[in-house]
């Protein structure tokens, strides 16, 4: 049945979207910085997975373990050394700064990896499973499950660990956190590092399903934006909700009015939400 297929497609895609957006949402929620490099981090993570699989023969799941600390370090240093200087500057400055950084990273990737589209094809190919006329490709399913696991891990980290609670505290009320003895500067760097690590891991998962090229970074960024606004900033459940909503709107819209209009629809929805309900579906203060 078409409706069931569209629904299942949307659910699977929605979780992937959530995974793309979660790091972006964290950085935006905690540091109040819109990180335009996010898309390029994702692509870099995808290249990492591709490279690791191609030349070392290592399964992409191990690439996750490699990507996380690498990207965390990269993000941490970037924030500590560069972004921290403009952290209290107005919106325009941080946006333009991250835009400039993205130009550099993207250009470097095009230069070293070339703009060709690479594809990580698992061998043997994983195929698809079919239940009552609804078909789900196995690689997407695995990526979805991994994405959910990642977000779950983040949730636990934020609730159970000391660092996580400190991050939530900074998000809730920066000044009060300082009074409580939280080293805000270091928390900012950790949060940014976390965001980068999540982006890198999301990239590894994306490599399994989508083609890899520096040119796709703006696509991922665009999705992340919409998911954050729809679902609410700084919240794991918000990212999930936003991701699912976006995927549903796109899927149903595609079926009813054609795929050409799907992207337009998502951005119109973005604007509507911004005007009518800027905190998103599940947005609230405090990161949970």
């Amino acid at each position: 049945m078409l409706a069931a297929q569209v629904l299942i497609n949307a659910l699977v895609l929605g979780c992937l979207y959530a995974c793309i957006a979660i790091g972006f949402s964290l950085v935006w929620g905690v540091l109040n910085v819109i990180n335009l490099i996010h898309g390029s981090f994702i692509v870099l993570g995808a290249y990492l997975a591709f490279g690791v699989y191609q030349w070392l023969g290592v399964s992409p799941w191990y690439a996750l373990a490699i990507a996380a600390p690498l990207f965390f370090a990269f993000g941490y240093l970037l924030q500590r050394l560069l972004l921290n200087r403009v952290i209290s500057a107005p919106v325009l400055v941080t946006l333009t700064l991250t835009f400039g950084l993205d130009l550099i990273l993207n250009n470097a990737m095009i230069y070293y990896f070339k703009a060709d589209y690479r594809k990580l094809t698992l061998s043997p190919p994983t195929g698809s499973i079919s239940l009552f006329d609804v078909v789900v490709p196995v690689d997407r399913l695995i990526a979805t499950v991994s994405a959910l696991a990642l977000t779950g891990l983040l949730y636990l980290l934020l609730r159970r660990s000391k660092v996580g609670r400190a991050i939530v505290a900074v998000r809730l009320d920066r000044d009060a956190a300082v009074l409580m003895g939280v080293d805000v500067k270091s928390i900012y760097a950790i949060a940014f590092g976390l965001g980068a690590a999540l982006a890198g891991c999301a990239g590894v998962l994306m490599a399994l399903i989508f083609p890899i090229s520096p040119l796709t970074s703006s696509v991922y960024l665009g999705k992340a934006f919409v998911v954050c606004v729809l679902g609410g900033l700084g919240s794991v459940s918000g990212a999930l909700a936003g991701g699912l909503l976006l995927a549903l709107v796109e899927g149903i819209g595609s079926t009813l009015i054609g795929p050409a209009h799907a992207t337009t629809l998502s951005f119109v929805l973005l604007i509507i939400f911004l005007v009518v309900r800027p905190q998103g579906l599940l947005g609230r203060k405090g990161f949970e």
């Binding site: 819109i34 403009v86 500057a89 325009l92 550099i104 992207t263 337009t264 119109v268 005007v275």
Partner: protein, 311 residues
């Protein structure tokens, strides 16, 4: 007429002498320079004066380009088509502004960014009217020589630049400009004092869009073929912002100087660093933001100049 504004007029007058210095290619660069100066000046009204970081410049540039192109296709003469685009963009922006300008900071930036995407996809899908992904053709004006053509479009763009600069200068000295200044500093307080901030902001947004639309129209007539991904390119939004930041936010003279300087740098970089030109651009942006956050104009803050307006 303050010293700064006089300097700006002198600068623009000097640019008019470009045809004496170079041939058709130099005129091409000059036309592009004037175009970006218009974009930067216009953006400054909503971004520098009112303090709302708008990324919608590309949306109106593309819209104006298509509006003019469609009108030209229907046989309307160029000047009428361009003025038509100007008016349409002003009204459209003012109307959209009423809704969008309720947002602040990041949210407004994102909303204006999405405007670019929405407009582009709308144009992309209206295939019958705009040619969709296949682009739109504007017939070549028959018979005119290359140099004559280049000079004509250079002066058209230059004339628009002059108009924009004059309007911006009038605005900055008028009640509207004063009101925008207040809004930028503290919108809530301005509202309390009785300032109709919605009206002022919408007018500012409209002004920031109308000349951009007209510039887009002249651009379309100049290149004869446009397609959605060319004219709705996000860089038409970002570059004017970088130029404004480079030259000094809030100051018309600074913004125009920033525009010219940026373009000069871009030409040099394009010729010499083909493979890494966008990387070099990125580096430039970063250094600018870290070391010269108030733009070039702050370099001369001292005895002769007012301090750069703060963001």
């Amino acid at each position: 007429m303050t010293r700064v504004n006089l300097a700006l007029l002198v600068l623009i007058a000097c640019v008019a002498s470009l045809p004496l210095f170079g041939g058709a290619y130099a005129l091409r660069i000059g036309t592009i320079a004037c175009m970006y100066a218009i974009l930067a000046l216009s953006w400054n009204v909503v971004g520098g004066f009112a303090g709302y970081p708008s990324f919608a410049t590309a949306a109106f540039f593309g819209f104006g380009a298509y509006a003019t192109a469609i009108l030209l296709d229907k046989g309307v003469p160029l000047s009428v088509a361009v003025i038509g685009s100007l008016v349409i963009c002003f009204l459209l922006a003012a109307t959209l502004g009423i809704v969008l300008l309720r947002l602040r900071g990041h949210y407004f930036a994102i909303a204006s960014l999405s405007l670019v995407e929405v407009f582009r996809e709308l144009v992309n899908n209206a295939t019958d009217l705009t040619g969709g992904g296949m682009g739109l053709n504007i017939p070549l004006a028959s018979g005119s020589g290359i140099l004559a053509d280049a000079t004509f479009f250079f002066y058209a763009m230059w004339g628009l630049l002059l108009t924009t600069a004059v309007v911006v200068m009038i605005v900055s000295g008028s009640k509207l400009g004063f009101g925008l200044n207040c809004i930028r500093q503290n919108e809530t307080a301005s509202n309390m004092v009785g300032l109709n901030s919605t009206l002022y902001k919408s007018v500012a947004f409209g002004l920031s869009a109308c000349f951009v639309g007209a510039a887009g129209g002249i651009y379309a007539a100049w290149v004869h073929y446009i397609d959605p991904s060319d004219v709705f390119d996000i860089l038409y939004s970002v570059k004017p912002i970088v130029m404004a930041l480079m030259g000094g936010l809030g100051s018309p003279l600074g913004v125009v100087c920033g525009a010219f300087l940026y373009l000069g740098l871009e030409e040099v970089v394009w010729r010499n660093y083909i493979q890494i030109h966008s990387g070099v651009l990125g580096l430039l942006i970063i250094m600018l933001l870290l070391f010269l956050p108030h733009g070039l104009i702050s370099l001369r803050a001292g005895m002769f100049w007012r301090k750069a307006k703060h963001v």
